[in-house]
């Protein structure tokens, strides 16, 4: 056999050809380095003295430089509470907003997957029209907001039916789903200023509650979007059987549907948690001292003397490690074959 053939033909059906193996493993090793090197770099940067950080390519501890714990000491001891508070804020805000978004979002996704909604186009347009009139009345003519709200609501309830009879077009579940998803397509920066003014008016700036409320709202569409796809794959037979057996809708949702959608719940939950954990823009707008979260703290290490990479590295490691740990822990729940044995065919 020629050299080329020996290189490109696999020895058996289950193995790769020698050339293929070299290329594949070479590519994988290279990419692993690309992905893992930044983590390594951050880790050693956290152990470097400032002079070593700006001294050029200094990568090997004990060979190029002597590791020093000054950055770690500063972050944990000198700044103790100033590090702990943002850390706790991040944990609380991320966890609570994720749980709320998952609870509300999965119930919405379930409703969209099982029930038929047909909101009339006429009602929606009427609602928007009355809303606009209300805003004009309050802002332009100084009508007290509660009078305008009550009048608008009363008008809506009175006119909705009549409007529905004239214009019969109605939307469906798909439209509602798309509308929910479209909320997330909107870049948050567009809404940042109105949200800021809203919380300022309510006196809720720099509170964890404000952050939790905002993150829940922003991440809800993602939960609905992803969980809808998971719920649709659960056979309706199971729920019909349970309902004949005597279970209420909630018993079916929490006892049958959610356990079967567990892989989806874990995957979506992790995604939303990571989004909330890493969120910077809204946290920057809405928090200053008390509700400061980790991403803002990391960026704040950019002092007048220049970015303090060593402190930043410590904080970044603190930020990344819990998420990596959590993902490794929960990975086994994202398992295949959850639905085996439920239905035939």
């Amino acid at each position: 056999m020629s050299v080329l053939k020996r290189l490109t033909e696999p020895k058996s059906l289950d193995t790769m050809s020698p050339l293929g193996a070299v290329l594949v493993y070479g590519g994988l090793i290279l990419w692993s380095l690309v992905v893992l090197f930044p983590l390594y770099w951050i880790a050693i940067t956290s152990l470097k003295l400032p002079i070593h950080v700006s001294a050029g390519p200094v990568y090997l501890p004990f060979v190029d430089f002597l590791p020093d714990l000054h950055a770690w000491r500063y972050i944990f001891v000198d700044l103790g509470n100033d590090t702990l508070r943002p850390y706790l804020n991040s944990i609380v805000v991320a966890l609570v907003s994720t749980m709320l978004a998952m609870l509300i979002g999965s119930m919405a996704a379930y409703a969209l997957s099982r029930l038929e909604f047909a909101p009339r186009l006429a009602s929606i347009l009427l609602f928007i029209l009355l809303g606009a009139v209300m805003i004009v009345a309050v802002a332009g003519f100084g009508v007290p907001w509660w009078i305008a709200a009550v009048v608008a609501l009363a008008l809506f309830l009175l006119l909705a039916r009549a409007a529905g009879r004239t214009m019969r077009a109605s939307l469906g579940n798909g439209d509602i789903l798309f509308w929910i998803i479209s909320q997330r397509i909107l870049p948050p920066v567009v809404a940042a200023l109105p949200i800021y003014v809203m919380f300022q008016t309510l006196g809720m700036l720099d509170t964890r509650t404000a952050l939790i409320a905002t993150y829940t709202t922003v991440n809800l569409p993602i939960v609905v979007w992803l969980m809808y796809d998971f719920f649709v794959t659960i056979p309706k037979d199971l729920e019909e059987s349970a309902s004949l057996d005597g279970a209420s809708r909630f018993a079916i949702f929490f006892g049958i549907v959610l356990p079967l959608a567990r892989p989806g719940l874990v995957a979506t939950g992790l995604l939303v948690l990571i989004l909330a954990w890493n969120e910077y823009l809204l946290a920057l707008f809405l928090s200053s001292a008390n509700a400061q979260t980790m991403p803002v703290l990391v960026a704040a290490q950019n002092a007048t003397r220049g970015p303090q990479w060593w402190y930043m590295s410590v904080l970044i490691l603190l930020m990344i490690l819990p998420v990596i740990f959590l993902t490794l822990l929960l990975q086994r729940f994202i398992a295949k074959g959850m639905l085996l044995g439920a239905v035939k065919g």
């Binding site: 059987s241 057996d245 439920a342 035939k344």
Partner: protein, 349 residues
């Protein structure tokens, strides 16, 4: 418990699936809803279960009007075609579900489940998960789950269609025996006429949402009410000859013969079951033709003959030896002929 459908109709948008269906299932009766796909039989069953709403008409279970009652309050149990077992629960938990969801005491649940499991021979599999069971075992779990709370009625939606032929035959006998022992009113949906004939006390045949005939299997076989039933029941299907009837004498292209009726009609269809026909010498039968095909089934031979422009299939002896093209006659008794009006399809009295 009696189950009554009173003029029950169902439409999905503009599509009318079930048209004014009225039937009464007697207490302890095994009623089979038989029909082809799209006949409305599954819709009727789901309406009784409460899984589909009723467009018009009423449904009564016992003396209770349950037309608008939620499924969980109707006291009926359903066995689905796909079994619908909860994959994250063990067999024990699956069977116990109707009782745990109604918050029965633990001791009662334990006893009921073990009793039922023994009845369906699952007592050694109670700790397994559905994915570890065979098709027949899963089906028995679904049955056990339906039995365990002693409902007023069983509703079964083609429960045997996912089993292989041999297991199906075995489970048919099991089902029949179990229903007889428990004495619970059962409504069973199928497209398989053998299941209908073997299991049912009475069969309701549906076609395109309309009830064709409601009668015992024997009557449906021996006195089909219309052409559809006549052609649907019986394998191989009944032979049909188109012609006219004059004072009880039927004339068609295949021949002319007397019947047990004294009626007349210009467009009449005569039906003859393959087993009622006898092969004879060419001149000696009521119909004359030639052999088109001959198939040995095992215990009999199916001989298909061309008579005029009609095709007639006859069940002959297993030793029958005839060649294709051979002239043949077909004889039969007058009272074996079924007569139907061609336009309406209804049986002529």
């Amino acid at each position: 418990m009696t189950i009554i459908l009173d003029q029950a109709s169902k439409s999905f948008g503009s599509v009318e699936v079930l048209r004014a269906l009225s039937l009464e299932v007697k207490p302890g009766e095994f009623l089979v809803l038989l029909g082809a796909s799209g006949s409305g039989k599954t819709t009727a069953l789901r309406m009784i279960a409460g899984l589909e709403s009723v467009t018009s008409g009423r449904i009564l279970i016992g003396s209770r009007d349950v037309t608008n009652v939620l499924p969980k309050n109707r006291d009926v149990a359903m066995v689905f075609q796909s079994y619908a077992l909860y994959p994250h629960k063990t067999v024990f938990e699956n069977i116990a579900y109707p009782l745990t969801v109604r918050k029965r005491p633990k001791a009662e649940i334990e006893k009921s489940v073990r009793d039922v499991a023994q009845q369906v021979q699952l007592d050694h599999l109670l700790e397994r998960y559905p994915r570890q069971l065979s098709g027949g075992q899963r089906q028995r779990v679904a049955l056990a789950r339906a039995i365990v709370r002693r409902p007023s009625a069983f509703l079964m939606d083609e429960p045997l269609s996912n089993l292989d032929a041999k297991l199906r035959g075995h489970m048919r006998a099991e089902l029949k025996h179990m229903q007889h022992e428990l004495g619970i009113t059962t409504i069973y949906v199928t497209h398989d006429q053998i299941e209908a004939m073997t299991l049912a006390h009475r069969v309701a045949i549906l076609e395109r949402g309309v009830l064709q005939q409601l009668d015992t299997p024997a009557n449906i076989y021996n006195r089909p009410a219309n052409l559809f039933v006549a052609g649907f029941i019986g394998s191989p299907p009944m032979n049909v000859l188109e012609g006219s009837l004059t004072d009880g004498r039927f004339d068609c292209s295949a021949g002319s013969f007397g019947t047990a009726s004294r009626a007349s009609g210009r467009a009449v269809v005569a039906g003859l079951r393959p087993e009622d026909g006898r092969l004879a010498a060419p001149g000696q039968g009521k119909l004359t033709g030639e052999i088109y095909a001959s198939e040995l089934i095992g215990d009999h031979t199916l001989v298909t003959c061309r008579c005029g422009d009609a095709t007639v299939t006859v069940k002959a002896d297993k030793d029958f030896a005839g060649s294709i093209g051979q002239p043949i006659g077909i004889g039969f008794e007058e009272r074996a002929v079924h007569l139907f009006d061609k336009a309406s399809g209804e049986r002529l009295q």
